[in-house]
């Protein structure tokens, strides 16, 4: 249906307001509420839907009358290129580096999952089957783009430069953890790498990413030399059911915020399959409803992730800034976390089938092997090397002291309040009187850090 654009000047101005570019003067904002209906017109000039034409046929739109949005892929599960326009934009050595980052995460996952089972750390979450989404997107974003993760984006940290020592310090909550031992394992964060510390409440990071995007836009308006940056926000398809998802996309669209929203649709939110999560066409179909440019891609195809995120970033910076939504289709091969046995709600055979049939790591490996830049020998050498590196970091981190006890009172406010100083003194008094009841010596500086 070709939209009929109304002739009225007021209406044109109001329509332009939808794009919100350039920033509207007050008069144009006022005009958006004063559009009027012309007699006998065949277009609707209700302020709430500017381009809607009248129809005389009573017809409800049904989701079933639309086919599902297509899934973009570059390389199929055999490692063969299916997008004929595709040309690798990086050298083979760089592809190998990305492959090794994915491999690193999958090896660390196995080691740490077992370590949790042995009781050596309190909790862990693997990202098996989703390595391409995080590694691929990290590799095409600017290293200074601020990023909000959900919790299953370990590959993003790895690709951006998070070190083994940093991973292990966080997992073991030792004195080298930049989160100061306050957060559960896998709640990584890095000021150095512009990745916000992960928080457990789902989707809360989404409207924050919209705000961050708006801040980047404002900062560029105020300083034309400021680097063009976008905010990036990862979330799962389960989190997209939260109210914050709705708030975030709507506010990002209305305020034209440069944000790339990346959804990992892996089929499950803990035990809940997508059939019980939503009834529409996944997450991507919603983006259009918010007026957001959207694409669905094959999340097991690192090349598709790279191409889509690269393009999305450029689009997000166009026209003064706008949000873009990418839905990455994957499958959560692993349990939800170490506290979950996923075979309680899905068949083992289904998981095995996915592992065998399609996996982002083997897919890229097939592509590399066909290209001649990878082989069995290199695979073994890489696996052994990464395993050694991780185990060494593991052993070192486990030996480190825990953060200073004083750290628990700091950073609630910018400065310690009188109450917090008083409470710190009360804790010190307890440790003095009951030394056998507490393991203060495990902490950096022992109980002395609690001195005023």
């Amino acid at each position: 249906m070709k939209p009929r654009f109304p002739p009225s000047r007021a209406l044109r101005k109001a329509a332009a307001a939808v794009g919100l570019k350039p920033p509207l003067p007050a008069a144009a904002r006022a005009a958006s509420s004063s559009v009027s209906q012309r007699p006998n017109s065949d277009y609707v000039s209700f302020p709430g839907a500017l381009k809607s034409a009248f129809t005389t046929s009573l017809k409800f739109e049904t989701p079933g009358s639309y086919s599902a949005l297509p899934t973009y892929r570059v390389v199929d599960q055999h490692g063969e290129v299916v997008d004929q326009s595709f040309k690798p934009d990086i050298a083979d050595e760089q592809v190998v580096k990305l492959y090794k980052d994915m491999l690193y995460i999958s090896i660390m996952d196995l080691i740490m999952f077992d370590a949790q089972r042995q009781g050596r750390l309190s909790f862990y979450m693997v990202s098996a089957g989703e390595e391409a989404v995080s590694v691929g997107s990290a590799s095409v974003l600017d290293p200074e783009d601020p990023v909000y993760c959900q919790y299953r984006e370990q590959g993003f940290f790895k690709q951006r430069g998070f070190t083994t020592k940093e991973f292990m310090s966080q997992l073991f909550a030792n004195k080298n953890d930049s989160g100061k031992g306050r957060n559960m394992p896998i709640h990584y964060g890095s000021g150095r790498l512009h990745i916000h510390t992960i928080s457990s409440p789902l989707a809360t990071q989404m409207p924050q990413a919209s705000g961050a995007g708006y801040a980047l836009k404002m900062q560029r308006m105020q300083d034309a030399n400021a680097k063009p940056r976008v905010a990036v926000c990862f979330f799962g398809e389960g989190a997209a059911s939260e109210g914050d998802f709705h708030a975030a996309l709507n506010i990002a669209a209305t305020r034209s915020c440069p944000v790339v929203f990346i959804c990992r649709n892996n089929g499950y939110a803990i035990s809940t399959p997508t059939l019980e999560q939503y009834r529409g066409d996944g997450i991507a179909s919603r983006g259009i409803g918010y007026g957001i440019d959207t694409i669905r891609i094959d999340g097991n195809d690192m090349w598709a992730v790279r191409e889509a995120v690269k393009r999305a970033r450029a689009m997000a910076l166009q026209d003064g800034g706008k949000p873009v939504l990418i839905e990455c289709m994957t499958y959560r091969v692993s349990h939800h976390s170490t506290s979950d046995d996923s075979f309680a709600y899905r068949a083992r055979v289904e998981v095995e089938d996915w592992k065998r049939r399609d996996n982002p790591i083997t897919r890229l490996r097939k592509w590399m092997e066909a290209r001649g830049c990878w082989d069995e020998g290199k695979e073994k050498e890489a696996r052994d090397g990464l395993r050694r590196e991780i185990l060494q970091g593991f052993a070192e981190a486990e030996k480190e002291k825990k953060p200073a006890l004083r750290t628990m009172f700091e950073d609630v406010y910018e400065e310690l309040t009188d109450d917090l100083r008083e409470q710190m003194a009360q804790l010190k008094e307890m440790l003095d009187k009951y030394p056998d009841e507490y393991d203060a010596a495990e902490h950096d500086g022992g109980k002395d850090s609690l001195k005023a």
Partner: protein, 401 residues
Amino acid sequence: MKRSLFRHLGAAQPAAQTGLPPRRLARRYSTHPPNAKLNLPIDYTTTPLLAHSGRTSALGNSKEIPAHVRDGPAKKMNLFQAINDALGIALAQDDNVVIFGEDVAFGGVFRCTMKLADTYGADRVFNTPLTEQGIVGFGIGLAAQGMRPVAEIQFADYVFPAFDQIVNEGAKLRYREGANGPHAGGLTVRMPCGGVGHGGLYHSQSPESLFTHVPGFRVVMPRSPIQAKGLLLAAIRSNDPCLFMEPKILYRAAVEQVPEAAYELPLSKAEVLKEGKDITVISYGQPIYTCLSAIQRAEADLGISAELIDLRTVYPWDKQTVFESVRKTGRVLVVHESMVNAGIGAEVAAAIQEDPDTFVRLEAPVGRVAGWSIHNPLIFEKFTLPDVARIYENIKKRLDY
């Protein structure tokens, strides 16, 4: 959550030209009985709590405002104008300040953001979609990038959809990020609060005590235009996130001479408004006026002298000022609008009895005058919010103990 019905809660509209019978009955919202001697309307034009002609209020510590500001030009402002003045100064002085919320672009439903969008641009003062969780989350994201966002929640009654963003995100951001650096310290969330005579269940609430159970935010409530300007500027410039609660009944009612220059008043510092030796009355926000009326009557009738303290910041609050006063008077009454149970009064009373040096000086149980443990019902407001008679009676009870 639209509340268009309550755009102008200041004034009730007469039912002219409607075909209704002429008005003979009392107005159908709470009012004062004709024979009342204690529960009289607060006369904001004469109360010594407001600076009507001079440049500082007759009561309180005028030295908190620097002399050159105090002695400089002043302008008559009501509370919403003082808020508007503070926001204008904040926008002019710092490019990082942005103001947003529902309906703030045209000036706000209470006029607090009048002309700011025209003066400072639609990029810095703008409307958001109608989503409280979105507004606060958006503000936290801005603050984490080093901006100084001032978010508005149209009524404190509607802050609850944003509770998760406030409690789990804004409050914990600095703590969670640790050495990584980002924090929500630049964030200020403004919200009109308190009873207004006919606000019913959802235009009357004072949810401050819910936020005082959340480490990380400072919770502030001013009592007057001078206080509002100084405390709001301090909140915006503070590197801790702040919840700034504005008693909406004072938006138009409280008028005083406010210094035109920029100034700050200290956060987490109480103010002794009036010294006394027999009882300490502690409150904040609008009930400060009610307390003063009750104190004036009690002093005249009973020949006593009462000390009046405005907490101003209800968390983290100024224990030292309160303790010093109670050690002197030995008797305390805490007054607030929100429900008595687990309200600010509970925390103040517990802290007073817990402090050994203050506990031994108590000569009567700590008293609390607050809303009953109910919701704020439209037609019954005059029977639930603290009034002069209840405060007067409770002062007497402390003294008779």
